[in-house]
């Protein structure tokens, strides 16, 4: 239903500890944002791409599909930088803006690749129960896990209702579309709370008395992966800063 989510569960790195993957991908993400865009974005982007399609084993098609929409946002968001307004000429093409837009697009793309590296290799099922270790209150992590679970039930409901409405010509024109959409919104609300009620009872029968604690699959931390990741991060920073200095 959500392709990126599904990919994460079947990815080659699935058995790895989420912390390892977070170190690598989020470390790279910080580099992408914090290092000077030139050549930082290029270095980070290249490294992330190599890892993504190499060791992490993502296919180009999967990546393209996942990045299509966010890259659209990036492009649309860069356009306003290409011109300046309010000066003596009213509106003019801004050449300085061109560099800025390019930098922005570069940084964003690199950062998106890092995000993708995390998202495509690290399923939320592995992440959510471990958030408590980071100091998130258990009530919040448990609600997050419940949201994650119910999300798919509700998305499926919406899909089914949308199909059923379409089949009865619910999207024939604007007014029928609004009626249909309102029906979806209301039906999802009713279903969401019905789900909550039924799940509450279903869990009570399993001994639920307020805590949704579960045992988490043990995933040993690979020291070599952590060391290699650290080395990659250090290398990225070093190479970027070296090139930067050499260019000045």
């Amino acid at each position: 239903m959500l392709p990126l989510d599904t990919i994460a569960y079947t990815n080659r790195w699935r058995p790895r500890h989420p912390g390892e993957k977070a170190l690598l991908s989020l470390g790279l993400l910080v580099c992408a944002v914090a290092l000077p865009v030139w050549p930082g974005a290029l270095v980070v982007g290249a490294v992330a791409t190599v890892i993504l399609f190499g060791p992490a084993g993502l296919s180009v098609g999967q990546a393209a599909h996942a990045l299509r929409v966010p890259l659209g946002f990036v492009v649309a968001g860069s356009l306003p930088l290409l011109f300046a307004v309010g000066g003596s000429t009213g509106v003019r093409i801004d050449l300085h803006g061109l560099t800025l837009a390019a930098q922005l697009a570069g940084r964003s793309t690199a950062a998106l690749l890092c995000l993708l590296l995390f998202a495509a290799t690290t399923p939320l099922a592995d992440v959510l129960p471990r958030l408590a270790n980071l100091g998130v209150p258990p009530a919040v992590t448990e609600i997050t896990a419940l949201m994650y679970r119910m999300l798919f039930l509700l998305l499926d409901t919406v899909r089914a209702i949308r199909e059923a409405q379409a089949s009865r010509l619910g999207f024939r024109n604007w007014s029928t579309s609004y009626r249909s959409l309102a029906g979806q919104g209301a039906a999802v609300f009713v279903r969401a709370f019905d789900r909550a009620r039924r799940m509450d009872e279903g869990l009570a029968l399993r001994g639920y008395t307020g805590s949704l604690r579960v045992d988490v699959e043990s995933r040993p931390v690979s020291r070599s992966f952590v060391l290699l990741s650290a080395a990659v991060l250090v290398a990225v920073v070093t190479v970027t800063l070296t090139i930067r200095l050499a260019l000045q």
Partner: protein, 300 residues
């Protein structure tokens, strides 16, 4: 059988060399073929995850095939707004979980959804809704909120909503699931009325006996393809049944075994009742004396 079609006739809906996959590399249907003729009753059987629901969603245009064609009255379906509009006036799907179909506040409103969308004038809408509610025997539920209905009532409301569109083809995904035996009979009676009125009917089911007694033809969806055959042929093909994770229907099986033994005559029974009648007749014919004495022993 009444539903057997003229082989030269153009099917209302047909499916040609259909390919579909939710995920690349894992096709659910790969080269599926199917034809639905006017007044036809087709039962679709197959294992869990075989692709029955997927096939139905393709037939009503909710999914777009990766390759292959769906034809409506012989003309290829185009997945445009217009093409789908035309299709949906002809073909209606009732999904398995009625909660996925009912979203309006009351039964009347929900059933009127389709006719209103068709742009019909108010009296016509009312007439259609009343007819649909009447056909399903739920006229007195019209004002009830949908979420307070029992499962069987919800199911009937969902079917009424589809019927109010006056479709030529009505497709029902596991319509008998969750109904008690009497509820199943009532549903079958409704389907019979629709059949008599000329609607082409397609149902999916896991119940081989139901398929056997109800349909003119069965389609077994397994391994990406559709095997079509008249009911008695399909349900005698043990290889096919095994592959489709199905068992044999019991009435014809018992009949066949008894035929071998001799002493049974008459047409192959379609239902339990027919087989019982046959056995009873046979009993009477052969051993008239024991007929009324044996009855009490059944429960001992």
């Amino acid at each position: 059988m009444s539903g057997h079609h003229d082989p030269a006739a153009v099917p209302v809906v047909s499916v040609h060399d259909l390919y579909f996959a939710y995920e690349p590399g894992r096709p659910v249907l790969a080269g599926a073929e199917l034809a639905l003729y006017a007044r036809h009753r087709l039962a679709v059987l197959g294992p869990n995850g075989g692709g029955k629901t997927t096939l139905f969603r393709l037939i009503v245009g909710a999914l777009k095939p990766d390759a292959g064609e769906i034809r409506l009255d012989g003309r290829p379906l185009r997945h445009t707004r217009k093409g789908l509009l035309e299709l949906r006036q002809q073909v209606q799907l009732v999904v398995q979980d009625p909660d996925d179909q009912l979203f309006a506040a009351s039964v009347y409103q929900d059933v009127s959804f389709g006719p209103v969308n068709l742009g019909l004038p108010a009296p016509e809408v009312r007439a259609r809704v009343d007819a649909a509610l009447g056909a399903l025997g739920i006229t007195e539920l019209a004002d009830r909120p949908t979420h307070l209905l029992s499962f069987g009532q919800k199911k009937r409301t969902a079917i009424a909503g589809a019927i109010a569109m006056c479709p030529r083809v009505l497709v029902l995904d596991e319509p008998t699931a969750g109904l008690d035996p009497v509820g199943v009979e009532a549903l079958l009676a409704t389907l019979h009325d629709l059949h008599v009125a000329g609607t082409t009917l397609v149902i999916s089911t896991h119940d081989v006996d139901l398929a056997y007694r109800w349909s003119d033809e069965v389609a077994i969806v397994a391994d990406g393809t559709i095997h079509r055959a008249p009911v008695d042929v399909a349900l005698a093909d043990h290889d096919l049944l095994t592959r489709a994770r199905l068992g044999p229907a019991w009435a014809p099986t018992v009949h066949t075994l008894l035929e071998r033994r001799g002493g049974l005559s008459g047409a192959r029974p379609q239902t339990a009742a027919e087989l019982y009648a046959l056995l009873d007749t046979a009993t009477r014919t052969i051993q008239p004396s024991s007929h009324h004495t044996g009855g009490a022993g059944a429960g001992a």
